[in-house]
Structure formats: structure tokens, C-alpha cells
Assembly symmetry: C2
Homo-oligomer: 287 residues x 2
DNA sequence: AACCGCGTTCCGACATACTGGAAAACAGGC
DNA sequence: GCCTGTTTTCCAGTATGTCGGAACGCGGTT
């Protein structure tokens, strides 16, 4: 099963069905065209669909499968895919013609990491935290009103708690969400979070008042430790990384199986807080 | 200055001039069109150019700069760039409108790493080697008859030996090149290496016989340690990572400033060999 | 051998993505 | 404020990239 940081997605199967989405054209202009039949699409869009599809699907696919998966004409997909293979943006995976994301993407991604202080500095911290505790450690941020994991390092446990790096999840579903929203007024939070995100994965509603109270407690404690909202097996720990103004730019967190005794829980919490404070310091944040 | 593993590029300035290349259409068919004026290009090509440009350039740029840099119409670049920002493939960098590679690329890149045994296993080894020695450590492979660095971890030195991850370099220029070609016949090597690659960065020619002799010695020794061919400051150490058949699939290597005494050189070599053997083992290779 | 399913390649036609050029917004410098 | 150079946005025309559909190739089954 697939579990994400403090927000394990409920057995989010990687089903190969069409990537239902896009069409939310956020053009700045009114877009007078009444959304004609989604006939033809341009190459760039296809390319993006292909990459996203392979990323979400997580495993090598044949051009034909990709075409079916994203609901695009085969001829188009073959065309584009060949171009991308030339560029090493995709790479052949086996002799059956399966393809996967290519090394060029790794190079691009590395450049991205180099460029950004937060991630560059956080990377060794996440690794150290994970190594030291043997648990899965992650760095999480807010991304367009959702929570996403941006760095992850798996723990030593035999059953892998893999994380869906980069998959947006409602803030309300996550332990970290309580911390990431610190400092926002009630009104701001209501405006910020999409209303549907107050529906928890089991279908129940999270009362706003409860959520606000949890945020308050999180801020007061300086960390959160709680059972995952989205699965029955994991406990999550999260600590804030703050900037010079004291607002929370990210959280450092851990995912562990439930069932640890109080002693170990405290120990994990302390280790986490220690690393989080270090990271905040080295970023010039206010501790 | 910029230095790459065992092949520091000679002050390879990152000049913002047009990316002269492509046009080598390797279509399987004769391509009857006599290569018309390079008029219009498709979106996908532009997109690739943009990403490559930002990657090679290494720093955030404005859409306008990108347009100039890749020699594309501004209107086109603005169009595409906006699309990519929506997708988080590019990201705004500052309020002057500069952009850089986006987090999505990091996510894609991570998936790539997860998927491939060699890199997944090699990553902790490279890190460990670098931490233990304080030097820059890298994993290198052959990529279309050239050498490229696929993993890197900077050493603790104050002046950063940054590496051009993913930049193809002639095998002859690199220490690792001697190892990566092990097992190939003279004829195979001649056929494989582009003739122009026997010209060293200083303009001199590398005699084939010398090169072959160096390869033989490398194989016999089981490692190479030599002064970098391409700069005057560094010494490089390389050790082979072999597969079950005993052929060299990659090299683990280190870049150090010159001037270490024999004792330390031996020590570094031993550490390197130790880690390389570990990695080969864990990949099921023949030691 | 002939048949079937599946993955891949080929090809012509048309909608449209890309382009050039010009206008508009912006940023300094005087 | 006014002028000058730069960056960004807008727009309409046409070269061309995308699509559908058909043909091809290959492995396995009857």
C-alpha cells in the first residue's frame, strides 16, 4: 500500500485509467470560446500529459499503453515519444518497447534542487533524520492550497512506506497541515482552503472549529504528533521550519507504524525537533 | 570555475548565446526534403530548448532572455513559458519575472532515480564516499559514446568543485573513460569514439596507441588515478562498477585538488575501491 | 497454414500553433 | 514630466503538426 508522510493516501491505486483532468484553463482572459469539443490538442499538452502519466503511474509503459492511458491518438503519442527518447527525457526500459522517465529529467531536477536554499539545505537533514531514527522522514510544503511532499527518505522498515512525492493532498488530511497554516486568521484559512477539502477521506466532515483548535494546539506545542487521518496503521510527527519572520515555510516530518510506546514516541519527537531547529537555524529562521 | 569529475571542463563559460545544435534529424528514412530554411519549429522543440537552456545556463532568466538565448520568437517563448509555469515545470523565481526549472522536474527526476537499480543503489554510496573522504564523489556512465556524470556529491572543500551533471564529455578527456571502455577491442573503440574526440581540450591529439595502453593499464590495475586532462588543479580517481559479466557499467570516482602526498593518495584510492566493490556486489556484479 | 489480437508505422487532410511585427507597458535617466 | 531602451502583450496569416484510419508485423492459437 501507498502511504504519504502524515497523509497516507487511501490505497490510491495506480490504475491505468485516463488522467481525468485538465480543461481548467486558467487563462487570464474570459475565454469566450464555449469550450469546443476537445478535439485537437497541441504537442506541448500531450507531452505534459505523458510525463504526468508516467510519473503518477510509476512504472514503465509502452507507447500504446500511454496513448490509451491519456486518451490520445496513438500516432501522436508515438511521434512525441520518439522525440522525447531522442532527448533522453524518456528512456527505453526493456526490449518490449516499454519506456520510462529519462535521465534528463533527473538532471533538470537536480538543478532545481541546487537552486533553492530550502531544499538544498533540507536534503541532508531529511536523510540524517531518517537514518538516525530508521523511520521515513519527509519535508513538506504548501503548494496552491494543498500539501505536498517535496523531499523524502525511506526508513529501514521492511515494508516500504513509499510516499507520493509531489502529489497534492488536502491540508486538512495531514498532520503537517496544522503547522503549515500557523499564523493565519480564521477568515484567511476559510478563504484559503477549498471547501471540499474539509471532507475527510472516509467521507466525514471536519468541523472548522476542531481544525482551528488543532492548529492552535500545534502552534502552542511547537510540533504535532498524531495518528494519521487517512490510514489506520501510521502515526505522524511534524515540526515546523520557520523563516525569519517566524512563519512556517515547511514542515519536517516522520511517518511511523503505530504502536510505539511513550518512551520511543518522545524520543522520536525530540530527535525530530532537534533536526527541525537546526534546519530553521541554518536557514536564518527564528527559533 | 567549473570542474567535472575526472574531466573538469576548461572554464566552460555559460554564455547565453544560442544553443547551436539539433538539425541532425536521425529519421530512419532518407529525408528527401533538402533541409529547408530552419523556419518554423514546433512547440515541443521549443520546450526542450527552453529546458536545456535553463539547465545549461544554470540560473534563472526572464522569458525575454530565454527567447534571445535560444533564438526563438519572443511571442512563442512567452506562450510556452506561461504554460509551463502553470504546470510547475517552470517556476517564477523573483519579482523581476525571472523563471527557473520547477519542482515538477524534481518529482520526475526522483521517480527516475527510484526506478533504476544502478542509480538507486549508487546514490548512498556516492554520498558515503564523499562524506568519508571530504572530497567530491561521482558516478559516471557512458551515454551515446560520451562520458556523463549522473550522480554527484560535493566535497567539504571551501572552493566548490561543482560538476556539470549530465553534460556529455569525450571519453578520452576523462580518467573514467579508460575504465568504461574496458573489454572493447581496438577496432570497436575506433568505431565507437567519434574521431574528433581524440582532440584534447588544449588542441593536441591523443595518439590511439597511448589511449589503448592506458586502457590496458587501467584494466590491469583495477582502477585509475591520474591528473585531470582538462585542468591543472585536480587529480581524479576512478574505479569500475561491473555487472555480472564483468563489463564496466559505470565508474565511481573522486575529484581532488592536486598536491596530496602518497600516503593520502593511497588512502583515497583504497576507500574508493572499497566502496566500488561494495556497490558492484550489491548490484550482483562480479568482483 | 490461416487466423486473430495487439503493437507499431505510414499517410493525406485540415484545424491551428507558431510566427513576425507592431503596440503597449514598464523602467530608468535626465 | 518626458524621452529612450527594454520587456511584455496582442493579433492575424499560413506553414505545419496533429489526427483518423488503414496497413503492416509479429506471436500465439486453432
Amino acid at each position: 500500500m501507498t502511504s504519504t508522510a502524515d497523509a497516507a493516501l487511501p490505497a490510491q491505486e495506480r490504475d491505468p485509467k485516463p488522467a481525468q483532468k485538465q480543461d481548467h484553463k486558467q487563462d487570464h482572459k474570459p475565454d469566450h470560446k464555449p469550450d469546443r469539443k476537445q478535439g485537437r490538442k497541441r504537442g506541448i499538452d500531450r507531452l505534459i500529459e505523458i510525463l504526468n502519466y508516467l510519473h503518477q503511474n510509476g512504472q514503465p509503459q509502452r507507447p500504446n499503453d500511454i496513448a490509451i492511458g491519456i486518451g490520445a491518438p496513438k500516432s501522436t503519442v508515438y511521434e512525441i515519444v520518439n522525440r522525447l527518447v531522442d532527448e533522453k527525457i524518456l528512456e527505453p526500459y526493456d526490449k518490449d518497447g516499454r519506456l520510462f522517465l529519462g535521465r534528463k529529467l533527473h538532471f533538470f531536477g537536480t538543478r532545481y534542487l541546487e537552486q533553492f536554499d530550502l531544499l538544498r539545505q533540507a536534503e541532508p537533514v531529511v536523510t540524517a533524520l531518517s537514518k538516525q531514527t530508521g523511520e521515513t522522514a519527509q519535508l513538506c510544503i504548501i503548494d496552491s492550497a494543498r500539501y505536498i511532499v517535496v523531499l523524502t527518505h525511506s526508513g529501514a522498515r521492511h515494508f516500504k512506506i513509499s510516499s507520493d512525492l509531489g502529489q497534492p493532498i488536502p491540508l486538512t488530511w495531514t498532520t503537517s497541515g496544522r503547522l503549515l497554516l500557523m499564523g493565519m486568521s480564521e477568515q484567511a484559512i476559510v478563504d484559503f482552503i477549498p471547501p471540499e477539502d474539509f471532507t475527510l477521506p472516509d467521507g466525514s466532515q471536519l468541523p472548522l472549529a476542531d481544525f482551528l483548535a488543532e492548529i492552535d494546539k500545534a502552534v502552542a506545542d511547537g510540533y504535532v504528533s498524531s495518528k494519521s487521518v487517512v490510514d489506520a496503521y501510521t502515526r505522524c510527527y511534524a515540526a515546523p521550519i520557520t523563516d525569519h519572520a517566524g512563519s512556517c515555510v515547511a514542515t519536517l516530518c516522520m511517518v511511523t507504524p503505530r504502536g510505539d510506546d511513550r518512551r520511543r514516541r518522545n524520543q522520536l519527537r525530540d530527535t525530530l525537533l532537534h533536526h527541525a531547529a537546526d534546519l530553521t537555524d541554518s536557514l536564518g529562521g527564528k527559533t
